[in-house]
Symmetry: C2
Subunit: 210 residues, 2 copies
Amino acid sequence: MADAYEGAFMPPSLRALTAALARLPGIGPKTAQRLALHLLQHDRESAAALGHALQQSLQGLQPCQRCNNFSEQPICSACEDPGRDGRLLCVVETPADLLVMEQTRSFRGRYFVLKGRLSPLDGMGPKQIGLPELLERSLDPELEELIIATNFTPEGEATAHAIETVLAAQERSPALRITRLARGVPLGGELEYVDLGTIAQAFRDRRGMT
Amino acid sequence: MADAYEGAFMPPSLRALTAALARLPGIGPKTAQRLALHLLQHDRESAAALGHALQQSLQGLQPCQRCNNFSEQPICSACEDPGRDGRLLCVVETPADLLVMEQTRSFRGRYFVLKGRLSPLDGMGPKQIGLPELLERSLDPELEELIIATNFTPEGEATAHAIETVLAAQERSPALRITRLARGVPLGGELEYVDLGTIAQAFRDRRGMT
């Protein structure tokens, strides 16, 4: 692509647009060029809409002071929604995880969004991912259960463990239960094809049938 | 994705950004959401750069009055470059095709970019794709050869045929040759796996070996 970038046929602003698109994750230089030309040639309206939306989002969105999810107000509307159950707090790694949880329609409590997962090599320690804020949040006297819904990856598990540890170390309401999403065989899972670690876990966590 | 869009957890500006990204070709709602969250969470700098580049491109780029390629000036720098051979004019369907041609480094003439290919069902007739402008351009007394480099698709072939027809119908310098890129077996092509139409064409267009 160096040729195309250097060519006299690629004006600087087109080159800049291609480079900016290529910075998006999963978009290479070839796709970026295709997108840039498409936007300018066939869909200037979408290009204007995207430019406007980017500007609005950058200016308007901030972390909610209570849950850390993106919000246009200091406290997001979900945190202030009296219809949500304030006794339950679900801790997720990212806003994307929160949106997935919501789509299951199986949780009506509140959320706390970490700023990522523990990953010391990337400089993500307990402070960077927002554990102090979570600790403060856990002091809410209304709270009865804190559900850790980090990913079931090594980093997610380490994060869950760290949350458990810091919560255990501080004084808190004895009524506060700390729980973790269940691990086990996924829906539709055939045992023959499920990985052994998952089956072992499902054995250990087996539950009584009522 | 409707749930995510409707949820209280998706502020309007984040929803607008996701929708704007989903308008890009090849980007579905799920990827758009992932991109939006990534930009806002991890790469606000890229988001700002993209917003800026979109604005600059929309304001700054216009079709060059001679070649129709994107340009920041009324006449693009390539059209004014004395190092290009003004006797040769290569006609392509899109700016992307022009960039590919340039990358081959096998052409040092000038270009004319159509506004697309003939496609009557989509409302793309001779006027819409810019044939009148091409006709005018073909009157340039300096011009000796006009190379039609539209795609070898049905629409591209129809476009090439239309260009030939309108050029033949008008008075023009008798010295002006109209040519078309060669069709044939691609580089590295094994006859066994090349489609029959291509082989038939390569037979018809066979050339003497020197």
